[in-house]
Symmetry: C2
Subunit: 375 residues, 2 copies
């Protein structure tokens, strides 16, 4: 039987608003497929700080350990500006606890009609379609920190096992999609020791395990430039470390120009091909353990007004269906919802996309369309 157990952490500000709407899409999926999703709701971020004086509690972290997937909204806001710990630390601790080491951010247009909304000229950005995989549990963001009055240090370190497991995700993804598309590995091997180790081990893994995939090295700084001037040259897969991935994935988000449309997944192992079993990070639902969240933050400026665009959260749901629950057809239906209507795609648009719809109207249009697609 399809489905499984999900932990829902709506978080702060617009988080709960868009999560509520995305879950209605999940209701539609249940109705049309017979799948069942057991839903547990809990706190992470500012809301958890308010109630428990911590950005996430041990109880929630425990839940994260044996859940099939976590469905996350967004955490933070100005009211916790000086809190110790900060609201965002909850998410960092969940990533570490779940060992969801592969943060995947697709860079493509949710709909053809969105291309014109990019800050980049249409002839340059049209057809962009890559997956950026960021190492998510190591490097400078997780080393043992030193924070003193006059000195701060974050060791930027990588071990072989941490590198191997994340670059394998890149290799597996390339094999599943199109082994002819190269995988780019971005680093600063001309300066950083950790990058040199990263580069050497990445090549070892690809030579041994993915001999058919072309692996190309790209210096992270020059990639930051090329993503703007030649974005489609990187169609395929990009894999990089936690720090470079943090910056480059937000840059990639800027390329499409619609923050309200960008989903992400953080996985505990390589995604399984349809019909296959995961090799690492498997959950009880036959997929990979993962956390799914929109790229956008909690948007305090528009929260409470029903104006937030639910699409990024809905597309994160599509990633969850695909990677954690192996529901590939349903994932496709949800992922293509904006483009699916015979006549040029869904016409309902929230304000950030130049339309008039509120969160619920946009969501209802999506629900209707997903229902139609699954008939």
């Amino acid at each position: 039987s399809k489905g499984g157990k999900i932990l829902i952490l709506p978080g702060d500000h617009v988080g709960p608003e868009v999560v509520t709407e995305a879950l209605k899409v999940l209701d539609i999926i249940e109705k049309h497929t017979g799948a069942r999703f057991e839903r547990d709701f809990d706190l992470c971020g500012g809301c958890s700080l308010d109630k428990h004086k911590d950005s996430v509690t041990e109880a929630v972290l425990k839940k994260c350990e044996d859940i099939d997937a976590v469905f996350f909204g967004s955490a933070g806001g100005p009211e916790w500006g000086t809190s110790q710990p900060n609201p965002e630390s909850g998410l960092l601790r969940i990533r570490a606890r779940m060992q969801i080491f592969a943060n995947m951010r697709p860079c493509k247009f949710a709909s053809k009609s969105m291309v014109s909304r990019s800050p980049i000229k249409e002839e340059i950005i049209r057809g962009v379609d890559f997956m950026l995989i960021r190492e998510n549990c190591g490097g400078a963001y997780y080393g043992k920190k030193i924070e003193e009055e006059d000195y701060g240090c974050d060791p930027w370190e990588y071990r072989r096992s941490e590198i191997e497991r994340v670059v394998r995700v890149a290799g597996a993804l390339a094999m599943q999609h199109d082994p002819h598309l190269p995988v780019w590995s971005a680093d600063k091997a001309n300066v950083l020791a950790s990058s040199r180790v990263w580069r050497r081990i990445t090549h070892e893994v690809f030579e041994k395990e993915f001999p058919k995939v072309t692996l190309k090295d790209q210096l992270a700084d020059s990639l930051a430039m090329l993503l703007i001037t030649k974005p489609t040259a990187f169609n395929g897969v990009i894999v990089t470390d936690n720090t470079f991935g943090d910056i480059l994935s937000d840059e990639a988000g800027g390329l499409t120009g619609s923050l309200g449309l960008l989903p992400s997944a953080s996985l505990a192992g390589p995604p399984a091909s349809p019909g296959q079993k995961p090799t690492l990070g498997a959950n009880n639902a036959g997929g990979v353990r993962g956390l799914y969240e929109p790229v956008h933050g909690s948007a305090p400026d528009i929260s409470g007004k029903g104006l937030a665009n639910p699409v990024a959260q809905v597309l994160s749901l599509a990633m969850m269906l695909r990677y954690s629950f192996n529901m590939h057809d349903e994932a496709e239906a949800v992922a293509n919802v904006l483009d699916s209507k015979a006549e040029g795609g869904l016409e309902v648009r929230t304000g950030d996309l130049g339309g008039q719809a509120d969160t619920r109207e946009m969501s209802e249009a999506i629900q209707g369309e997903v229902g139609r697609l699954l008939m």
Copy 2:
């Protein structure tokens, strides 16, 4: 008497080609102003590896210590792909030896006619004008590295003094130009200890020393997105650490879309206002010690063909005249050369700008125009 001593390190591939042309512009300046520049030529990069088996020799590093300015071309190329040390390491060692801790990269159009060459839509990028200051001698790129078979580590560390001196350059620059423009400091204080120390000390410095300048914090990842979607919102000064600065400055380079037009300066102290003496890093010429180089690399694909665009090297010369030799009028003349002709600016264009001119033709047009401007 104006002028001073410069060490010229043309480097590899197109480096010598564009440096030669830029020095002809310096000849014109000498001729029109009576300034004298003593020129010493030496090796750094692949050419030094070939001759001395090292990317830079101790003799050259010694020269760098008591020179007024270093005029650098570009280092590296595929023929030194696996060299130990790599050609780029020469530049890193010069930066450390000269303690040129403030790497300054202007992000603006060298000429109004260039706006349409940006990959970004004209209505979004028009009017962009910020200076990105990257800390250039510390952080993860300079910590004591560990490089083993299965493990690599680069300590990402900052001391108070390293932070103070570079953010002071940002404050001084804002005061000199327009104290109403904010200074943005980019960090990841929500994750990194070194960023939290950076942010605290930066605020201390601005409160005490630049109370009139508005200092704004901006998370480095979100800045990477906003630079694409709202670049002009950052007009003014951006200051950030070595790693973030490396990535963000190349990204900023992509915004204007013309790698052949981007200069940079690396300074040993805050630039002095016209008529004032430098407070740190002063040279014998009344300016600040610095190294000047184009942002572009050695471009092995077009080297030896006379096709390279000399403008970035020429604009680096303008920065040298301004910061190291206090020749502000001459710096202005050179910096505005592309825009200065009564009718829509210089019309000669190299291939990268869609024109037909070769390196020398472009250079000759510039020399002529600079001569005219200095009459």
